[in-house]
């Protein structure tokens, strides 16, 4: 059997394992206590499914178990060390992340599992067995995709809150809070469909696989839910490196948008999806938000307004540029309708290749930082409910702006306000 380098250490053991019911890939470096809790909670799953846990991080360097039959102690849970990167390769963080997903899905297919689960986050004060929340709806056969829900905090997951989440909701009609996870539970049917989708796998940075999840899962043949996992621990944000992030994340999303254009053009509005364990989200109080240098963000926005006109003129219609010019530095606000039109116009320019795609996405950075500054000023002192209301308003603006996107998409030359 031909195996690729990324999956080789696991594949050798996978042949000894035979079949399993569930595969869990741990990208987050969990502590021994957390791993112990996870093992116990997996053992307590109804029906005692055979579970294989692939463990990356510090434990990945440990040698695999020498036993020939990992199920010999009649334990339904097997923990295996695993490295998502190929030996000798020095991929970027994005490539490592994307490889990990591909690798987990490949191993899942080889083990003939019923469902896969990827855990990439650490949760603050996790409840025992929080990982099982991603798994149980799959094993019960109720759902094909279990997306995560986290406690919303002011400056966390901003790219998701400002673009990825509301754009996906507006396009595909399902209100998934975190369409790009990163923690997911997927049924076999869904991950096989996503991996086998007739799209250009070589294009982009590999995150296309994750970007395709929400569009594919939104089809009528799949059932989607989301489950509350708790307060996610986010790594500190590096504001000076936002352009690389925008390119890496939005590139695959815009590509997926292009491929699914016939589908999303027929959809209007959005539907709620089942949210499990929602009652717990109200029990926790959000921590104070980290300090953010709004003046610096506004300065980058204004620098962009001064120096990037020659690029933005090729992408944005005159009316949008006019509105951007009239954003006052004193009372700095970027209205939702304007922001939505900007994102839709960038998506269109990405499709039309108006300019080089990397240049295009990088040139969005000052506008994104401007939106963050505007959002920071608007949500000063807002509580969790206030944040949710603010982000819901933005999502509604995305839905309201969809006819604009469709018109521009269909007639980019004729419809240019």
């Amino acid at each position: 059997m031909e195996v690729d380098a990324a999956t080789q250490p696991t594949t050798l053991t996978a042949e000894q394992i035979g079949n399993a019911d569930l595969l869990i890939g741990l990208l987050a470096d969990l502590s021994k206590e957390d791993l112990g809790c996870l093992r116990d909670s997996l053992k307590a799953l109804p029906g005692s499914p055979r579970v294989v846990v692939l463990q990356s991080g510090a434990a990945a360097s440990a040698p695999p178990s020498p036993t020939l039959d990992p199920w010999e102690h009649s334990s339904p849970v097997v923990m295996l060390p695993w490295s998502p990167t190929a030996d000798g390769a020095a991929p970027t963080a994005i490539e490592t992340f994307a490889n990990a997903y591909q690798s987990i899905f490949a191993v899942g297919t080889k083990l003939d599992v019923k469902a896969c689960c990827v855990v990439a986050s650490k949760i603050e004060n996790p409840t025992p067995g929080w990982v099982c929340r991603l798994v149980q709806p799959l094993l019960a056969g109720d759902f094909d995709l279990v997306a995560p829900c986290y406690e919303r905090r002011r400056f966390e997951g901003l790219l998701n809150n400002s673009i990825v989440g509301p754009l996906t909701r507006s396009l595909y009609g399902k209100r998934i809070q975190n369409p790009m996870g990163p923690d997911f539970g997927l049924s076999r049917k869904l991950f096989e469909e996503v991996v086998g989708a007739e799209e250009d796998h070589a294009a982009g940075n590999g995150l296309g696989l994750i970007a395709r999840l929400a569009p594919v899962a939104s089809r009528e043949t799949f059932r989607v839910c989301q489950t509350y996992l708790g307060s996610r621990i986010y790594p500190p944000v590096d504001w000076t490196n936002a352009s690389a992030l925008l390119t890496d994340i939005l590139g695959p999303i815009f590509l997926s948008m292009e491929k699914n254009a016939p589908k999303w053009q027929q959809l209007r509005g959005s539907a709620l999806i089942t949210t499990l364990n929602e009652q717990e989200s109200r029990a926790q109080s959000p921590n104070p938000a980290p300090a953010i240098d709004v003046a610096r963000l506004i300065n980058t926005f204004q620098l962009g307004m001064r120096d990037l006109q020659e690029i933005w003129r090729l992408v944005l219609p005159p009316a949008t540029l006019f509105e951007l010019h009239h954003v006052s530095p004193q009372k700095f606000r970027i209205p939702d309708e304007l922001w939505v039109r900007i994102i839709y116009d960038f998506a269109l320019a990405h499709r039309l290749r108006t300019i080089n795609r990397v240049h295009l996405l990088r040139s969005l950075t000052p506008l994104y930082l401007g939106w963050v500054a505007s959002y920071a000023l608007e949500t000063e002192g807002a509580d969790s409910a206030g944040l949710n209301r603010r982000l819901e308003r933005l999502s509604i603006a995305y839905e309201a702006g969809k006819p604009y996107l469709i018109s521009r998409w269909r007639w980019p030359d004729r419809f240019n306000p």
């Binding site: 992340f97 990439a120 944000v237 590096d238 890496d248 994340i249 980058t300 620098l303 108006t354 000052p366």
Partner: protein
């Protein structure tokens, strides 16, 4: 004496008329060739324009990732560029045919010389074309990167990079055309070195803090878990 002067004048006039008459068919042929080539060039250009427009050549180039060629073209239309180039080639060809009609040794040598020089001209045009596209691409990369790094002199940096690449391309094109090779080399060395030196000074003096921050970030990055990087904003 007047008789001798009159004879000399008559002789000169006769020579002038004889020579003029000898060249007249050649001149007429040259004019005819130019007129015909102009008409053919106009017709060929119009047909090519229509053909490329019906094939949506401009849109195809954009889809194929050749958007710099679109931006560089006159009126942002590569169709116009291609049809114009074909028309110009036909006119030049007609001109050469017209010159050949003189059937003199000089015209043959001229044509031979011209044709042996054509590869240099094509090479120089290609170098200029690639240089212009590269200058625009690199200038834009630098501009966006510098704005995202919050540098006030982003446009200056971008213009500097564009100028560097353009100067390099022009020097290479002149070298290819064998025009004042020594002077071009010397001037290029001075100009290129000057631009690099001024850019280096500007960046070094203006971005001390930025470079320090960047280096610090790199050191920190190597100790942190790389897989967390893409998750920061998601």
């Amino acid at each position: 004496m007047w008789k001798q002067v009159e004879d000399a004048l008559n002789q000169s006039t006769t020579n002038f008329i004889t020579n003029s008459v000898r060249y007249l068919p050649g001149i007429v042929a040259l004019i005819l060739a130019i007129v015909i080539s102009l008409v053919v060039a106009w017709i060929a250009g119009a047909i090519l324009r229509r053909l490329l427009a019906s094939l949506e050549f401009d849109a195809w180039l954009v889809r194929s990732g050749m958007s710099p060629a679109v931006e560089w073209s006159p009126g942002h239309s590569p169709t116009l560029l291609v049809s114009g180039a074909v028309s110009a080639a036909i006119v030049i060809f007609g001109l050469l045919i017209g010159i050949a009609a003189f059937d003199s040794e000089l015209s043959s040598e001229l044509i031979r010389g011209f044709f042996s020089y054509v590869p240099n001209i094509i090479g120089a045009i290609l170098v200029l074309l690639v240089g212009t596209i590269a200058a625009r691409f690199l200038g834009r990369s630098v501009l966006i990167g510098a704005v995202n790094l919050n540098l006030d002199y982003a446009r200056f940096l971008s213009a500097g990079v564009k100028m560097l690449v353009n100067v390099l391309a022009v020097a290479m094109a002149l070298e290819d055309l064998k025009i004042a090779v020594g002077i071009v080399e010397l001037a290029f060395g001075i100009l290129f070195g000057g631009i690099v030196f001024s850019l280096a000074l500007a960046v070094a003096l203006g971005s001390k803090d930025l470079v320090t921050r960047s280096l610090e970030r790199e050191v920190k990055k190597s100790t942190s878990d790389p897989i967390e990087e893409p998750l920061r904003h998601l």
